[in-house]
């Protein structure tokens, strides 16, 4: 496989994952706004922080409002991480690696692009928002489904998966980083109604309210949420889960290529770190510092994968 193709696959799936994460965050912001418990505008600020798009927003807008935040996150061409920008980028990368994709994956992605572009042609009204977000969710899910159902399990698939999980780990880490203060030990026992709103926000941001209930019961508390999002191996968006998937796919690549690259060592170290401690140790270390640490390691790992597999000249 060409180095360029590996790069294209990696980014195609990163962008696709990012589009999904961003639309999920918009959904969360909208729902929390409706409960009127939190300060709605503050909430949009933190939603945009979680999506990593607040700096750009502040350059283009003087104040935070729900309408402009939604527009920035869904449609803006000036925002490289808006849903429209990321799906366009995913498609551009897919065109670049067209020969590595099955016809079904390409058509699902092209269909996703055409439908999203149509739905995001104009500003999305509050009334239409749920339907538009539903469409994005459905269309991206179709691409994922076609990928699982039709792609060979070879290096092409490995690079697609690595891109997906690097992006997902990054997204979960950022959500935790923005909200870490509501998960601190002072909040362990009693949950005020404001705490409950924050906790729900976090769970919604990772589409895991149902999953949390199933695993931990209906009593929500900060310690369990942190455990769930950082260490729980059943949760497909937890840091531990994502990192172990990255490791697995690097291991498949290594076995396939008959070589052990430095990126494999980095991933191994990351996996071992997650397995070496429980959530209390994380709190002891400092949740904020811990997450910062993980974000740095993920960036390093991404850079090393680029080098190991010759993404660029």
């Amino acid at each position: 496989m060409l180095g360029k193709t590996a790069n294209g696959l990696y980014w195609m799936f990163r962008y696709l994952e990012r589009a999904e994460n961003t639309s999920r965050l918009v959904d969360t912001g909208q729902r929390i706004g409706l409960t009127r418990l939190g300060q709605a505008d503050d909430e949009w600020t933190s939603v945009m922080q979680s999506a990593g798009v607040i700096e750009g927003y502040n350059v283009h807008y003087d104040e935070t409002s729900k309408d402009s935040a939604i527009d920035w996150m869904l449609r803006s061409r000036d925002n490289p991480s808006s849903v429209l920008s990321t799906i366009s980028e995913a498609r551009q990368n897919a065109r670049l690696v067209r020969t590595a994709l099955t016809g079904e994956v390409w058509e699902a992605l092209n269909g996703c692009y055409m439908a999203t572009r149509e739905a995001l042609k104009r500003k999305v009204s509050e009334r239409d928002l749920p339907a538009v977000l539903g469409l994005i969710r459905q269309r991206t899910a179709l691409v994922r489904g076609a990928t699982h159902g039709t792609m060979l399990r070879n290096d092409i698939y490995d690079f697609a998966r690595i891109g997906t999980f690097i992006e997902r780990a990054d997204a979960t880490a950022r959500i935790l980083d923005v909200k870490y203060y509501v998960l601190l030990p002072s909040n362990f026992s009693v949950g005020s109604s404001i705490d409950n709103v924050h906790w729900e926000t976090i769970l919604r941001s990772v589409s895991a309210r149902g999953g949390f209930r199933m695993a931990y019961g209906s009593q929500v508390n900060a310690r369990d949420i942190a455990q769930f999002l950082v260490l729980d191996k059943r949760m497909p968006r937890s840091l531990n889960f994502c990192v172990s998937k990255i490791y697995d796919n690097l291991a498949y690549l290594g076995a396939d290529y008959g070589a052990k690259f430095p990126s494999m060592d980095l991933a191994e170290a990351l996996v071992n770190r997650f397995n070496a401690h429980d959530i209390d140790a994380v709190f002891e270390y400092g949740l904020h510092e811990y997450i910062q640490n993980v974000l740095t390691s993920l960036r390093q790992l991404g850079g090393q994968i680029e080098q190991d597999y010759r993404f660029y000249e």
Partner: protein, 474 residues
């Protein structure tokens, strides 16, 4: 060409249904226009979703457009095809022999059949190719011969596209779409398949592996990139052949081989099907500004380290001025009369011809010698006085840049319009593969159709469409 009535491939000249269309007609009679209109829209959806688009030159944004597709198949009988394919094969053999001769002993010039300056002053002539013989002796591996028809048995070759003919992906996708939409049509008519083209192409390219190749040949397609108007086709062909689609920056020269940067390191390429022009192929040997090519690839090529398809310098054979010599060229190298006719051509570089052309501009088609895509040409009969005068000025200032031909009464075939079937002018581009193993012509090809009533311009860049082309099993 004496008939004033235009020949229609379905109805002839006098409204009598021609045999090849009998099967189609009996199906069409039972069809409902409303259903067909829905099918026409459905076809467009299929094309959009599949991404069968082209980028329009000269637009600021890389805008993707669909080439209009018409759902009515064009039908050619097996007997008609047999004659055509014989003629094409003869012509393509002659072209390869001509190229080998021009770049080696130049017997045809010594024999006085073509003037020396026709070659040496030609910008498509590539001195770098002198004295070398490409692997297998093949210069033009892929040819798209443009044919037009004016009567029951009258076909003309309009152009020999011997450099990098495009459009074959449309031939394949048009058929695929028709099979999906009208399966019943194909069970009633026995249509020769075109689907083998990609595997034939791969086999044909692999058969031209260079001396340096010491295992199963590695083939790759070289594209200028995703902003090129034909990028879809490049990706499509690489995908269908199961080979890598590379760009210049994926390649470099290492130890006398052209290698591509893969996730496992650098790997040599044996046969490169390039879809970029000669000029951009090698910044060290040609245009130094080119970022699309591979520095030093020409040196590897000359040393037998890689096969480039089509060979650099093949343009000399499909130049429009050389075209006028094709009957002589065919005869010189095959010893036979050309089976397919050339359109009579006036070379404006010759004073007598120029005088004739200037006197008859309103009846002639005048083309640039190196032009393509239907740009920079004059169609006398459909042009205004003002347009003709403007063209006259261009022609007089640089006569050798032009050739002129009579305006042919191109045949028509039915297309589907809101009101039912209506005749439109067409041409035909069959695709030909050459290797040391032989010549392979896919039955059918790309039919381009001028969608405007009465128009003779079939180019997709100027509002032309395409349709599925059937060759029947007789």
């Amino acid at each position: 060409m004496s008939d004033t009535k235009i020949f229609d491939e379905m109805w002839g000249r006098n409204e009598t249904l021609r045999d090849p269309y009998a099967g189609f007609q009996s199906w069409f009679e039972g069809e409902d226009l409303k259903r067909l209109r829905a099918k026409q829209r459905e076809a467009e959806e299929v094309f959009r979703l599949t991404g069968i688009t082209f980028n329009v030159y000269g637009r600021s944004e890389a805008e993707e457009r669909l080439i209009p597709f018409d759902i009515i198949p064009r039908v050619i009988s097996g007997r008609e095809w047999q004659k055509l394919s014989k003629g094409i094969e003869q012509r393509v053999r002659a072209i390869n022999a001509f190229l080998h001769d021009i770049y080696n002993r130049q017997e045809i010039i010594k024999a006085g059949r073509i003037p020396l300056e026709m070659i040496t002053r030609n910008e498509a002539f590539l001195p770098h190719m002198m004295g070398m013989c490409p692997p297998g002796g093949i210069y033009t591996h892929i040819v798209g011969t443009d044919l037009v028809r004016t009567g029951d048995d009258q076909f003309y070759v309009l152009e020999d596209n011997a450099r990098t003919p495009s459009g074959v992906s449309y031939m394949l996708e048009n058929r695929e779409t028709m099979l999906q939409m009208f399966p019943e049509l194909f069970s009633k008519n026995r249509v020769q398949p075109v689907q083998n083209y990609p595997s034939d192409l791969r086999r044909s390219l692999a058969a031209c592996a260079p001396p340096a190749c010491d295992g199963p040949p590695t083939v790759a397609v070289l594209t200028p990139g995703i902003y090129n108007s034909a990028y879809f086709e490049h990706a499509f062909l690489a995908d269908q052949m199961g080979v890598e689609l590379v760009e210049g920056h994926d390649l470099r020269v290492v130890d006398g081989r052209v290698v591509m940067r893969t996730t496992r390191g650098y790997q040599p390429i044996d046969v490169l099907y390039r879809r970029i022009d000669d000029d951009f192929l090698d910044p060290l040997n040609f245009n130094p500004e080119s970022a699309l090519g591979v520095p030093g690839i020409m040196d590897v090529y000359r040393a037998g380290g890689i096969t480039i398809a089509n060979a650099p310098g093949t343009g000399i054979a499909d130049d429009k001025a050389i075209y006028s010599y094709m009957p002589e060229i065919v005869e010189f190298y095959t010893g036979e009369k050309a089976i397919l006719e050339n359109v009579p051509t006036w070379r404006c570089s010759e004073p007598d011809s120029l005088a004739y052309v200037l006197d008859n501009l309103s009846e002639l088609v005048v083309k640039e010698v190196h032009g393509s895509g239907g740009y920079g040409m004059l169609i006398g009969p459909t042009s205004s006085k003002k347009e003709i005068e403007a063209f006259r000025a261009k022609l007089t200032s640089r006569p050798s840049n032009y050739i002129a031909q009579p305006t042919l009464a191109l045949s028509t075939v039915p297309i589907f319009t809101k009101a039912g079937l209506a005749p439109r002018h067409v041409d035909l581009r069959p695709y030909v593969l050459c290797s040391p193993d032989g010549i392979n012509i896919t039955p059918g090809g790309l039919t381009r159709v001028a969608l405007q009533k009465g128009s003779l311009v079939v180019n997709s860049s100027q509002g032309g469409g395409t349709k599925d082309t059937w060759v029947l099993e007789d």
